[in-house]
Symmetry: C2
Subunit: 188 residues, 2 copies
């Protein structure tokens, strides 16, 4: 569980999220996190998924359709930086999950970018309920990845520690360019 970012995030999510929670998958990608989140919030919860790539939204929708009843998932072909405008007014999120970088198995030149990622993180923080957590897996191997990571870390370091706890989980002896995990929690 400690040896991979995806396992650790799914583990933390399974402890945090309760039946009926509202959560956001900020980067649907291939849909794995969306499906995981859907299981965790249950039939009374709600998942909103975002991706700027049409292919990601379609793949996610296909994967979801295999799950049967999915009328509590809302997929948005839009940048996660617009989540404040798109989510229902008064949304109070238990968790927002980001996977930064490019869509696995797709065009590696299409990546998240520092400006959008930063403004999406600020929006996510505003929408997060007390005790809620933003989990961000940050890949740095692609072009611009390092700059994006630096901007996010700078943002996290500047957060008021009375209101938020920010931590970075980094693997020390991994394969080259392994991602790190950024965890930001709004204090209860």
């Amino acid at each position: 569980m400690y040896n991979k970012a995806t396992s650790l995030v799914h583990h933390f999510l399974s402890e945090l999220i309760l039946d009926g929670d509202h959560v956001v998958d900020a980067t649907c990608g291939n849909g794995y996190d969306t499906i995981e989140l859907l299981k965790l919030v249950g039939a009374q919860g709600r998942v909103d998924g975002f991706d700027i790539q049409k292919q990601a939204i379609e793949t996610t929708r296909e994967r979801l359709s295999i799950q049967g009843k999915v009328d509590n998932v809302f997929l948005h072909h839009a940048s996660h930086s617009t989540m404040k405008d798109i989510l229902p007014a008064g949304s109070s999120l238990k968790s927002v999950v980001f996977n930064l970088g490019y869509l696995p198995g797709s065009d590696k030149s299409i990546t998240t970018n520092p400006e959008d990622s930063l403004s999406a993180h600020s929006a996510a923080l505003d929408l997060t309920m007390p005790g809620g957590v933003i989990f961000t897996t940050v890949y740095t191997g692609h072009e611009g990845g390092k700059a994006e990571a630096d901007r996010l870390l700078e943002w996290a370091r500047a957060l008021d520690s009375k209101q938020y706890s920010a931590a970075r989980h980094q693997w020390l002896n991994p394969r080259k360019d392994a991602p790190f995990l950024l965890i930001v929690q709004r204090r209860s």
Copy 2:
């Protein structure tokens, strides 16, 4: 749970340790981890505790005596770097917990030192069973703390990733000199 090293370690321990496991508290300090470990291994398990300070061993023994039946706890007034000689032959540990630095509420000039800490970590790794984990809370605020941290990180980065997974959990917006957590797991 994510906002403090002690909470995160206790949370990880509660998931990892099963009834009947053998574990080591490499730095008894004020005994809190020893007691937590004792609860987790149950009556069939075993806890060995080490500390170079007599005061720490006495405080821990006192705290333990309040818990009632404690004939499966063995306290050693000795450096953790000697654990290989002191533990029963063939010991196979589920976890080893370190708190590096000085004994809280005591003489701040008596601290763990890089040489002992490093050799204790090597010993701990040799004694750890597949899937077992070393959790080390590393304080860097005291004199020599930074050097000790650097040596340990260097050691962790050099571990063979096929055999071990090493990660560092670091708080980004904490009070000055907050500790970080080092997690080393022997792969199953």
